[in-house]
């Protein structure tokens, strides 16, 4: 298959900026890209030709932070919050994490499989071809492993590609009294067993006010590293407890949210090469302060942008609206937003994706517009014309 006559955004790190080729072609063989370059230099051959007609063709988008596996929803809580109800009132009405723990625990493999596949299909319709999926809505040892097994089943389909993460989400209400035991279970049961079954590629810890403490997080990171997992963290969303510094020290792949983060932490992240993942939808929904984008940029911290798809703070399945928020509410440039949902997001996940280069998986999006900036600019309209994922 060959895409010709495309306004090509390669995101190739060997090319400047977004790696644009104004009149480009992409040659695919099976599930792989075999050639990328100017249209008039494309190798001849027998192939199905897609004429992009001057439209924008980009790498498939990479959503590097989602909690896509959960049952139930928290729409009622959304309405209560919009009506000005406080956290306690919402919790008393059955809101908060419990509203999703119950349905997820009760759903079972088949139902969760269906839910996850439907979500991934909608993500793909929005241009996403690689998705991180975190566990975290069961919070029992067997339940969390079961969630990851369901993710693994869906991951085998590779459409889109799924990158599974074991998430130490928070301490559930029923484990508050013996939280030390709970943390030990994560370290001694969840993580080693997930490693043995190859159920995830990294371990994520929410280290924040109201979530895991720095000491607990340190223990979980230790177990993750012992099992050769990558490390990532939810940090600085509700408070600055020093989580970002800890993640930098651990050589984390990413720190996510980072609304509240110190200058020292930013310097440490830059040294560690950790990606900062921006989740502007959740930031707007919770009315949090905007992360220090300019400081991160100046320090040289690479920034990704993701949906944070989750039932509590961001029930969003597509990246373009996040790109609009990133460029307007967060003050990122259009180039940063695009790299943030392609090459940089792939780096945060440690997968080869997010660039149209020879040898890469054949993931790309043909858009119904011509210029990169139109995608965030025309927010609220799905400009995806066709998604190719693994060459199909």
């Amino acid at each position: 298959m060959v895409i010709r006559n495309a306004r090509l955004m390669t995101c190739d790190p060997e090319r400047p900026g977004l790696g644009m080729i104004d009149r480009g072609a992409v040659v695919m063989e099976g599930a792989r890209i075999v050639w990328v370059g100017p249209d008039n230099e494309a190798p001849a051959g027998e192939a199905t030709v897609i004429n992009a007609d001057g439209r924008l063709v980009t790498p498939g988008l990479v959503d590097c932070h989602t909690h896509a596996i959960f049952a139930g929803d928290r729409a009622g809580e959304f309405a209560m919050r919009a009506a000005g109800k406080g956290y306690l009132e919402i919790a008393e009405a059955g809101g908060g994490i419990n509203a999703t723990l119950g349905p997820t625990r009760g759903a079972g493999h088949a139902k969760l499989l269906g839910i996850l596949m439907t979500r991934l299909e909608r993500m793909r319709d929005g241009g996403t071809t690689s998705v991180e999926v975190k566990s975290g809505y069961d919070l029992t040892t067997e339940g969390e492993l079961a969630l990851l097994r369901t993710v693994k089943t869906v991951a085998a389909l590779e459409s889109p590609r799924v990158v599974p993460t074991l998430l130490a989400h928070l301490v559930p209400p029923e484990r508050k009294a013996d939280r030390d035991v709970f943390v030990r279970e994560i370290c001694e049961q969840w993580i080693p067993r997930a490693a043995a079954e190859q159920l995830a590629t990294s371990v994520d810890v929410w280290c924040d006010t109201g979530a895991f403490t720095v000491d607990e997080t340190r223990a979980i990171i230790g177990a993750a590293k012992a099992a050769a997992f990558g490390v990532r963290g939810h940090v600085g969303q509700l408070g600055d407890v020093g989580a970002a510094e800890l993640m930098a020290e651990a050589g984390a792949l990413s720190v996510d949210h980072v609304e509240l983060i110190s200058d020292a932490a930013i310097a440490a992240l830059a040294r560690a090469g950790t990606v900062a993942v921006m989740l502007p939808g959740a930031c707007v929904q919770l009315r949090l302060p905007v992360p220090p984008v300019e400081k991160l940029r100046r320090a040289g911290v690479a920034m990704a942008v993701a949906t944070d798809l989750n039932p509590g703070t961001s029930y969003c399945e597509t990246l373009p609206i996040q790109m609009w928020l990133a460029t307007t509410h967060y003050g990122m440039t259009v180039e940063e937003a695009w790299l943030g949902v392609t090459r940089v997001a792939a780096r945060a996940l440690r997968v080869e994706a997010g660039a149209l280069v020879a040898g890469a998986r054949a993931d790309c999006v043909i858009w119904s517009c011509e210029r990169p900036e139109e995608v965030p600019y025309r927010y609220g309209t799905n400009l995806v014309s066709r998604v190719i994922c693994g060459g199909a």
Copy 2:
């Protein structure tokens, strides 16, 4: 045609709140609704039955503030602004209003017709069945009247229903030197001629810092009233020049934007029964302060929510994303957001729409979800399942 087994949101003012009927039916004959009520009381008859299967059915959405007729775009300017470029730099690079004036002036009737129809189709795909369309991207007498004639041509198709507004947008660069003459042309040419040809139902004035002054606006309102037009205003977006007070005094149908508005103006709007139209997309994109929603609510000012579809500050064609912004960024309730895109928006346009009641035009949306709060909650996913507009 009958829709049965629906979770019906009637927005009927005779019913409390959103006028929900948990298991309801809507009976339509041709382009009209003839009966609305509980499913088990629906009149028998020969009809095409649509089984909503418990899903949400609402009035067709009403987008009461759009600048949907323009050629060209300002995506490049969007990118420059995201890159931190200032207003002057952008203007020097050909950005600002001029970037759309030129292409719109050069487009001609046929091209503008096509552009507008494509936009209206995408709006309809997002659930919108009534749309206000303002002129304002030509800014010459003949050109503005021509824009309104194009709108009238499209309005005749009634899918969606179009409500045309003559907009006194701003003083174009080439008329800065003789702005008094320009304002006189609006009052003595644009308005009387638009009235004679029945090209609009109201006149909108942008009365703000950098737009028309209060005195100029007063003159334009005078001409509008003399020609029996409704009056509306863009006010308080960039500064508080007293425009809202002036609009209240004039008995305006709506004041739109209202980021910057005094307590006295809010009281005056409440007394005048003027609707405040919230445009949260443009607010986020320009990083403006959030309007005083709580004060407006307490004063009893009805609030609508619209896209502000325009090339400079909000290229958005669908309302659900605005409902998410209204409920999260603005702090409106889910009920306010829904009434804001239905009954209240219709009131701002002085059209009978936005409610499922006997006698109304048969405009409704069948959603692929069950509860009203899911529509703003699940932002970024188009949950529209089917749109019925004028019974078709």
